[in-house]
């Protein structure tokens, strides 16, 4: 199934690519059309086995063929140089720019620059190297500075941009290291920075967002992958801890316009399927990123407008769904948004929490009442979840506010709208509903078939009377030959009463 490339990517400032080192079992004339068909608009081309031998006799004709392919499929390209055994068949990646002898590496990188020029590639990405045993870091650093100075001149003369990639365990490990090196070289234009977002969760103190922002305008190349914090192992999206939506939204905020390519060099055996699932993950993360930033933008715009003219609050509150998505906040666990609410509910709730810090409590209580009673169901959920947020964040509520909250909560609990009842048994209900009202609210959820995950502090407030009510409810269902909702067990089997009452 091909992915809808237009819908997904037309609003991304950068191009999404895939690294050819993850397609080692496909020749390029096969891999490139496949990637294009799936919706990728760039490749990160690793030089060396198996795709392109940079020292081959017929290099010129090979490059011409690749350039034709790229043009035909409208793919952008960056050149990658992380091939493992090109220069030394026994020692991975060696020699590097921090080894005593590095002529082979220098030759290779000069060749890579030539190739980038021939392909009109956007940069040549390269790493520093692991300090060999017996060499001091300072020595390695000096060698690196000296060699890079030569390479930068070579690249600049050929109008090719170099891009230094910090790698865990190497001498240049973080973006900060790369910036320091660049500054020693006199900040040459021809030297940019590559960021692999997976590496960031392993070594970057500021995480993915911090590292990307630190690279800023110097960011020349991006690699996309997932990773766990303790291991430099490139993983498919979803298998590590990288916050992909945050990474993409950071790139968008920086208006990064280069290539961001999936980097899964150990997964060639499953390349077509992984390319598809990766793109789906990116597309999903991208829509997530947009809704997250829409939330933040709406909130700050709303606060500014209300500060300017408090009378616009009702209209701003009503219009929230025009900007913030009306989609579940936790779609996986709660596809309908009944239990945990919609994104827009939480944006409205955040607005209430922010207003609490700037408005007089009397006035805010009146506003909440109006917003609720003059709101549609979504606005009412926003008010209820706003009350929850106030309690959750430890705000001290005055009596007037508590009474208003109880009045609103009581109204919501009388309705038969599942999403309103669920929002009414959150932190505010847990903190302020009397025990009778709270028990009836919980039982009503069971009766309506809504998961008790909606209830805050269930275990703290559940008591023997609620257990009795749940047992009676179950008996009534049994008498009618009806199934008993699983959640009833949560109420009848709580240790607090089943054991106590049996023993007592």
């Amino acid at each position: 199934m091909s992915v809808q490339k237009i819908e997904t990517y037309q609003d991304m400032p950068f191009a999404v690519g895939y690294g050819t080192n993850g397609w080692a079992d496909h020749p390029l004339p096969v891999a490139i059309p496949l990637l294009a068909e799936q919706g990728y608009t760039a490749i990160a081309l690793t030089l060396g086995h198996p795709h392109i031998d940079p020292f081959a006799q017929d290099l010129t004709s090979q490059l011409a063929e690749i350039r034709t392919l790229l043009e035909r499929y409208q793919m952008r390209v960056v050149v990658e140089t992380g091939t493992r055994f090109l220069l030394d068949p026994k020692r991975k990646h060696r020699p590097t720019l921090v080894d005593q002898e590095a002529e082979a590496r220098m030759n290779f990188l000069r060749r890579a620059i030539d190739i980038a020029r021939a392909l009109d590639a956007e940069c040549v990405s390269f790493f520093s190297g692991v300090i060999p045993e017996g060499t001091k870091s300072s020595e390695g650093w000096d060698l690196l500075v000296k060699r890079l100075a030569d390479l930068v001149i070579y690249a600049a003369e050929r109008e090719v941009r170099l891009s230094l990639e910090p790698e865990p365990g190497m001498l240049v490990e973080t973006v900060a290291d790369a910036l320091r090196l660049r500054s020693e070289l006199g900040d040459p234009d021809a030297l940019g920075i590559t960021v692999d977002i997976g590496h960031c969760v392993v070594v970057e103190p500021g995480g993915v967002q911090g590292a990307l922002q630190q690279a800023g305008a110097l960011l020349a190349n991006v690699q996309l992958d997932d990773m766990l914090a303790h291991a430099h192992e490139h993983l498919p999206f979803g298998q590590g801890i990288v916050d992909l939506p945050q990474a993409l939204s950071t790139l968008a905020e920086m208006n990064y316009q280069g290539v961001a390519a999936v980097e899964l060099p150990r997964h060639s055996w499953d390349a077509p399927a992984l390319a598809e699932s990766s793109l789906r993950a990116i597309s999903q993360a991208w829509s997530e990123a947009k809704t997250q930033s829409a939330h933040g933008r709406w909130l700050s715009d709303a606060l500014a407008a209300i500060a300017n003219d408090p009378r616009c609050l009702p209209q701003i509150f009503a219009l929230a769904g025009r900007t913030v998505a009306r989609t579940p906040i936790n779609a996986q666990a709660d596809p309908t948004g009944v239990i945990f609410g919609m994104r827009v509910d939480h944006a409205r709730a955040d607005l209430i929490a922010e207003l609490f810090t700037v408005q007089d409590p009397e006035a805010l209580a009146q506003h909440l009442r109006d917003l609720y009673y003059r709101g549609d169901s979504a606005e009412r959920r926003g008010v209820l979840r706003g009350l929850n947020k106030l309690v959750d964040s430890g705000r001290q509520l005055e009596d007037r506010m508590i009474n208003t909250g109880l009045e609103i909560t009581g109204d919501a609990l009388r309705t038969n709208e599942t999403s309103l009842v669920a929002a009414a048994v959150g932190a505010f209900g847990a903190a302020h509903l009397d025990q009778h009202a709270w028990r009836h609210a919980v039982l009503k959820l069971v009766f309506m078939g809504v998961s008790l995950r909606a209830v805050q502090d269930l275990h703290v407030r559940a008591d023997e009377e609620l257990a009795r009510m749940a047992k009676d409810f179950a008996a009534e269902r049994r008498a009618a030959n009806r199934s008993i909702p699983e959640d009833v067990a949560l109420l009848t089997e709580l240790p607090i009463y089943s054991e106590r009452s049996d023993e007592g």
Binding site: G321, S377, E417, G449, R482
Partner: protein, 292 residues
């Protein structure tokens, strides 16, 4: 087959109707605000009604896999009752709510000065809030009423493509078509239009800018008339694409001008099959469960 009923009063219908509508292919509806049969006596009665259109009724429809939208207005009949007219001051706050896709039903019942005032002022609200309008044409004096309606619409300055003129028939279709507005037809068991006459009109005037609705309410009416008209179109040789245009794309194109249509399938109802009613769905006044 996917069906959008652009005019149906679901508050007057039962859950059996919702179930049958879903089974017939109805996936989205618009419920215009109108009178209740029993005249209202206060603004408060209106507010509860509007709230119910945007709250409980939307929830109820979603329980059956149907996206529910509403239009909001003071209707022409009650525009004549001074106890109801002040609701005009409350209407603007409803026009910014999610899922309010037009101002309506507005227009004429008996063509009184009070109706003139309500009609004109609500046309201006539609302009201000950039919403389309659903215009009701009178049941009595239909031809003269439609002519006057089109004059008032033109004078208001609202764009013709923002206007849907409803309850049309053979006598007044041409003047609405010539005005450049959308043409709505209500298919009823014995009054207004029937399926066969509708198909004849579609043959004569084409499928462009024509909408078909059931206008089902608490009177003798049938919420499945949209589907029945679609079946008649197919039997008369219209293509699936023609049916899709009249029963889905045309109403979507008209109401989408509000930017307020939500047409994604409701979670749990992605397939054409109704979810298993034994899976946590029984025992309440409406279907239950987490599917909303």
């Amino acid at each position: 087959m996917r069906i959008f009923d652009p005019h149906i009063h679901m508050t007057s219908r039962t859950t059996n109707d919702y179930e049958a509508m879903f089974a017939s292919g109805v996936r989205a509806v618009v419920e215009p605000a109108f009178w209740l049969g029993q005249p209202r006596t206060s603004v408060a009665s209106y507010l509860d009604y509007f709230d119910s259109l945007l709250g409980w009724e939307r929830f109820r429809a979603a329980q059956f896999g149907i996206r529910h939208h509403a239009t909001i207005a003071l209707n022409p009949k009650e525009a004549n009752d001074p106890r109801c007219v002040p609701v005009l001051e409350e209407i603007p706050r409803y026009l910014v709510k999610d899922g309010v896709v037009a101002v309506g039903e507005i227009g004429y019942d008996s063509m009184t000065p009070a109706e003139d005032h309500a009609f004109a002022s609500q046309l201006q609200m539609a302009r201000e809030y950039q919403l389309p309008v659903l215009v009701h044409t009178p049941h009595r004096e239909k031809l003269a009423g439609t002519r006057r309606t089109l004059d008032v619409v033109r004078e208001s300055g609202i764009a013709a493509e923002f206007v849907l003129v409803d309850h049309l028939n053979e006598t007044n279709i041409e003047m609405v078509k010539d005005a450049g507005s959308w043409m709505g037809f209500s298919i009823y068991p014995d009054t207004k239009m029937d399926e066969a006459r509708m198909v004849a009109l579609l043959k004569r005037y084409g499928t462009e800018r024509i909408l078909v609705n059931s206008a089902a309410d608490w009177g003798r009416s049938d919420p499945l008339k949209t589907r029945k008209t679609a079946d008649c179109m197919l039997a008369a040789g219209f293509s699936d694409d023609d049916v899709d245009q009249v029963l889905w794309r045309n109403p979507v194109a008209f109401y989408a001008q509000s930017q307020q249509l939500i047409l994604d399938p409701i979670p749990g109802f992605e397939s054409d099959r109704f979810p298993d009613p034994t899976a946590g769905f029984e025992g309440n006044s409406v279907l239950r469960g987490e599917r909303v």
